[in-house]
């Protein structure tokens, strides 16, 4: 069974089709990349998959269950997690607290123990903090464990979102342009992080403009243009597709 099945998915905003009749599958354990020029509908697709938008038509099944009308917070409990192209960082909190929010579903979040600061609750929270520090280390944010989110540079914030998404212990992780705005070295580091994540058995859907990264790590690639599927296949197939080259790669390379 596929981890994610998208069938006949459409989304329109005031008559404009951002996504039109799109179908594809994502297999468990794969790194699945979605490429396309700006405005191709990649972020809209992410918003549809994670329940932030409701589709105009079609449906999405995650792990066999339809996600139509399910709130994003429930989907997270099902094992879906993501990062954002235009950061959704909690700038009113410290870096590690950002990651700890990611672990929200796995901590003791009952009201009374929290209010009364019961010892068990405190102990579990300390453990959570240690795990989150490890996660920050894992994505290469070791130096920022004690930082405030508002004082971190852009590249670090991108990784902070990855750490937060990982803290939710997802089965499927959606990464929206994790390398945007990063320099080459940082991009390679992200590369490694994504590979390590996939190695743990987490399915990854990646939206990225950095073709070197996409071609290097993807098991499967979906190319979009104007909300429609342009091509699909492994990196070699997509690279060879003349339409993709014309619509996207041609313009870039």
């Amino acid at each position: 069974m596929s981890m994610l099945e998208v069938e006949g998915l459409s989304k329109e905003f005031g008559g404009v089709h951002a996504i039109e009749d799109l179908s594809f599958r994502v297999e468990e354990g794969h790194i699945h990349s979605i490429i396309g020029p700006n405005g191709a509908g990649k972020t809209t697709l992410f918003n549809l998959i994670t329940g932030i938008y409701t589709p105009s038509a079609g449906q999405v099944r995650f792990d066999g269950r339809p996600i139509g009308g399910v709130a994003p917070s429930r989907l997270a409990a099902w094992g879906l997690s993501r990062t954002f192209q235009n950061l959704q960082v909690f700038f009113n909190m410290s870096a590690i607290e950002n990651v700890m929010v990611g672990a929200h579903l796995h901590v003791d979040r009952r009201f009374w123990p929290s209010l009364l600061r019961l010892p068990g609750s405190v102990r579990r929270d300390r453990a959570c903090r240690r795990q989150c520090a490890d996660l920050m280390e894992f994505v290469g944010l070791g130096p920022y464990v004690r930082a405030e989110a508002s004082s971190m540079p852009y590249g670090a914030l991108k990784r902070l979102e990855i750490a937060r998404a990982l803290a939710a212990q997802p089965k499927l992780l959606l990464l929206d342009e994790p390398a945007a705005g990063l320099n080459a070295t940082e991009s390679r580091e992200i590369d490694q992080v994504i590979k390590k994540v996939a190695a743990q058995g987490i399915t990854v859907i990646l939206v990225e403009h950095d073709m070197k990264m996409v071609m290097g790590i993807s098991d499967h690639i979906l190319a979009l243009d104007y909300g429609r599927k342009l091509a699909e296949g492994n990196p070699a197939q997509v690279r060879a597709n003349p339409e993709v080259v014309a619509a996207y790669l041609g313009a870039q390379c």
């Binding site: 994670t50 932030i52 709130a71 994003p72 917070s73 989907l75 997270a76 409990a77 879906l80 997690s81 993501r82 954002f84 950061l87 959704q88 960082v89 909690f90 700038f91 009113n92 909190m93 607290e97 950002n98 700890m100 929010v101 990611g102 929200h104 579903l105 901590v107 003791d108 979040r109 009201f111 123990p113 929290s114 209010l115 009364l116 600061r117 609750s121 929270d125 959570c128 979102e161 937060r164 998404a165 803290a167 939710a168």
Partner: protein
């Protein structure tokens, strides 16, 4: 040092110390009276800050919850003969339920729409309190008996001061616990980036509702105490002005700053007393101070102060 202000034990100890030492400067009972009012407001504002500062949700109607608590105690004790604590608890439960029922639909609203809705609810409660005179005594209000706890009557302002001081410590402690717990993190996350919080499993509206209820219950309980302490209440305490005053204390002290709320409440309670001699210029000065503070210290008194201190100490630490 700034870190000390944030640290729970340091801050609590300092607060306790200040409250313990302050009476040395109180030359008569009237000072205690004003101080008790300040501490009461501080408790409400700490609760309200959970909603406004940490949750990012404005409310222009919390004066009404305060008033409902006050009237619950007044009616419960004097008309039904309930023990004061039972009336206080009953009022808190009722207010909590009311807040819970109202919160879901209201908190879907954003920004000024939310402000309007909370204002409207406050006004409706105010009008009911004013109109149902057979229960509430109408616009001229009703008397309330002093607080008697198991035979001990809190009669003097001094007693009230120490009670209020202890309660404030408890309220601040609980608020700090909450803010630093997973519950508080979820709340703050919902304010910081709602969608970002949703996608990692935080049901943000649940936490907003929770804080709406918590802050309403705190206001209600303080209202009950206020009723006993003051001995006389009128529907004005549910009015628009009271609600605005509470929000102003929170914002002036510093949003998302528990100690800021205490500071804001204390200063704004004292200010009218200090300005009482300015006669016709009182309102102008009060308004100017409000504007000036928010223009020059937009983050509120305490956070701005801490930033200043950090900047100064920056080189050394």
């Amino acid at each position: 040092m700034a870190k000390l202000m944030n640290a729970r034990s340091g801050g609590l100890a300092l607060l306790a110390l200040v409250m313990a030492v302050s009476p040395l400067g109180f030359t008569n009972a009237y000072y205690y009276d004003v101080a008790v009012g300040a501490l009461f407001n501080a408790m409400i504002c700490v609760g309200l800050n959970l909603l406004i500062g940490y949750g990012g949700q404005i409310s222009l109607g919390h004066g009404a919850f305060f008033a409902l608590g006050a009237y619950a105690s007044a009616i419960g004790t004097s008309r039904w003969g309930l023990p004061p604590l039972a009336a206080l608890g009953g009022g808190a439960v009722l207010v909590g339920l009311l807040a819970f029922v109202l919160a879901r639909p209201i908190l879907r609203l954003k920004g000024h729409y939310l402000a309007m809705a909370t204002l409207g609810i406050g006004m409706i409660i105010y009008i009911v309190l004013k109109t149902e005179a057979q229960w509430t005594g109408g616009p001229d209000g009703m008397g309330v008996d002093p607080l008697a706890l198991g035979g001990f009557v809190l009669a003097t302002d001094r007693h009230w001061y120490w009670l209020a001081a202890m309660l404030l410590l408890v309220v601040v402690w609980l608020a700090l616990n909450l803010v630093e717990s997973p519950v508080g993190r979820a709340l703050r996350a919902g304010h910081g980036a709602q969608i970002g919080a949703e996608v990692v499993g935080v049901d943000t509206s649940h936490y907003k509702v929770l804080m709406f209820v918590v802050s309403a219950v705190v206001a209600s309980m303080v209202g009950s105490l206020f009723a006993h302490k003051n001995g006389f209440i009128t529907p004005d305490i549910a009015g628009f002005h009271r609600s605005i005053e509470l929000v102003t204390m929170v914002v002036l002290g510093g949003m998302a700053s528990i100690y800021g709320s205490v500071l804001g409440a204390v200063l704004l309670t004292l200010l009218p007393q200090v300005l009482a001699g300015f006669d016709d210029y009182e309102a102008m000065i009060f308004g100017a101070i409000m504007m000036g503070t928010m223009i020059f210290l937009p983050k509120g008194l305490l956070p701005s102060l801490i930033t200043q201190i950090r900047k100064r100490a920056g080189g050394r630490s």
